[in-house]
Symmetry: C2
Subunit: 198 residues, 2 copies
């Protein structure tokens, strides 16, 4: 609209998730008119992050070093391994403060129709990682979706020969939710997986 | 979380309007994991835009040149001048395709409590711009807020000595809106400003 570079900035901002044409315009105007310094800082942070952040050599989460802080940590329980689909899930579980073991990031879930099989999400590498006998319990924290469930079941099968405890994060009604707004599949799972209180 | 540069990117993304900590995290992960090329492109577009885009010397909208395309255009009506608060408003009116004159961007509205008086939004410059007699009608398209209205009224006073037609964009019910959801102030304005049909 105002100039080619303005349009290019609007286009570039549209790669951000959930940013449509209107939001991108608003962001571009905000940056140019109210926060040029911030925009330059953002450009710098983007260049730095894309240059230095990559996958951890052990767990496939993100890090600037060869191995990430969690994998390096001596304070975390080496016997517990939490398997998740993406680094975003590592972040969510870390923020919940509920887990003090180590992680393994698959980088996706099984999806045969999209050509994503066990090799593509590194299951052979995970099985090999578990073979040294250090880990005693694997917590399967793939997403509670059809694909996430299938991936969890596949992992149980793939590690049958190892003497490991395999657990799955609990599925039921989310805290603070109201029953009447919970979908019926979740509700039937919650009834099925009911816990003894007395 | 994963590394300092990751946290810096999340922080940098938070300068974008309506981006909170969760969205910023999601954006950072998306850029690093799924679209590094796009992130580098965005950094480049930010650097280019902040270096080259600035205010137009005549209308104070945005441009890469000394004077913007609209001010330069010989196809637009020099006698009509639309006064708006910000370049975003120029964009909105241009996109509506309803105006073929020229613009004047104030860069804000009168707000005495915040120390923004006529000088701060360049009203003396606008009055001077109008003094050469080229413009015959000024369309006041400041926002329909208390401050925008006050600014429009101030402009009428400030240009009393010039033989100019001053008009204000119509206020009423927005198209496609349902009356029952329109606020009562807008509704009372719409009744007050009713138009003759027969």
């Amino acid at each position: 609209m105002f100039s080619d570079r303005f349009d290019q900035l609007v286009q570039a901002l549209r790669i951000l998730p959930s940013v449509g044409p209107k939001s991108a315009q608003r962001m571009a105007l905000h940056l140019i008119m109210k926060n040029k310094e911030g925009a330059i800082g953002l450009a710098h942070a983007l260049n730095e992050a894309t240059s230095y952040i990559h996958e951890c050599g052990i767990c496939h989460s993100l890090t600037e070093n060869e191995v990430c802080d969690i994998c390096c940590s001596t304070e975390r329980d080496d016997q517990l391994l939490c398997v998740v689909e993406s680094p975003a899930d590592v972040m969510a579980i870390e923020q919940s403060g509920s887990f003090k073991g180590k992680y393994h990031v698959l980088g996706g879930h099984l999806s045969p129709l999209d050509g994503i099989g066990p090799e593509e999400i590194g299951i052979p590498y995970l099985v090999q990682r578990l073979s040294d006998g250090k880990v005693t319990e694997v917590i399967l924290a793939t997403n509670p979706t059809v694909e996430g469930q299938a991936t969890a079941h596949y992992l149980v099968e793939a590690t049958k020969h190892l003497s490991l405890q395999m657990t799955r994060i609990a599925q039921g009604v989310p805290q603070g939710g109201e029953l009447e707004y919970v979908d019926s599949h979740t509700l039937s799972q919650a009834v099925h997986n009911r816990m003894k209180m007395k």
